[in-house]
Symmetry: C2
Subunit: 105 residues, 2 copies
C-alpha cells in the first residue's frame, strides 16, 4: 500500500477546500464519496464522462486541498472523503456543504 | 437608488458560491461584511491592497454568485452579505463558512 502526499490537517486552508469543491465534477465526486465511503478512482468517476487524465487532475486537486484521502494498493487507487481532518479543522463545514448538495448527513 | 442585477434566490448555485469564496480577497470581503453589515465598496476593500478595477471584479463575482447584495446610491456603491437568500437556499452553509473563517456567528 502506498500513501500519496497529503497536507497536514493544520495546513488545510479554507479557501483551498472551497476552491476544490467549486467545480461541479469535483463536487459530484465528493458527494459520491460521502454516500459510498472509500471507492476506487474508477468507480468515483464512473459515467461522469471525464477523461482519465482529467479525473486524475480532479483527484489531485481534492487531495492537495485536504478534501480526500488517496491510497494506492497494487494497481488500484482508492479515495475517500477526509472527514476527520476537515471536521477537526473546520467543524460543521463539510456537513453544511454536503447538505447543500442534497446529501443526507 | 439603483439595484444592480442579482440572481434569483432559486438560481443561486452551490459551486458558484464556493467558487466566489475560494479567493482569499473575496473571502476577506465577505468576512468584513459579516462583521460590519452594509458598507461602501471603498470600505470593503480598504487596505487590502487591490486596484479599484480588481475590487470591482471581486464584487461582481460575489454578486453574480449570490453571495452579496449591491446597490448604488448616488456616487456610492453599498454592498452587504446576501444572508437571507443564502440561508434560504443552503441552510447553515454561510454560518459554517464564516465560522471556519473565524467569524463569530
Amino acid at each position: 500500500m502506498r500513501l500519496l502526499p497529503h497536507p497536514a490537517t493544520a495546513d488545510i486552508q479554507l479557501t483551498e477546500v472551497l476552491r476544490a469543491l467549486s467545480d461541479p465534477i469535483r463536487m459530484e465526486i465528493a458527494v459520491r464519496l460521502a454516500v459510498r465511503g472509500e471507492i476506487t478512482c474508477t468507480e468515483a468517476c464512473d459515467d461522469l464522462g471525464v477523461h482519465k487524465s482529467t479525473a486524475s487532475h480532479h483527484y489531485r486537486t481534492l487531495r492537495e486541498a485536504g478534501v480526500i484521502m488517496s491510497r494506492q494498493e497494487g494497481r488500484l487507487k482508492y479515495i475517500s472523503l477526509r472527514r476527520d481532518g476537515l471536521d477537526a479543522r473546520f467543524p460543521g463545514l463539510l456537513d453544511a456543504i454536503l447538505l447543500a448538495a442534497h446529501v443526507p448527513v
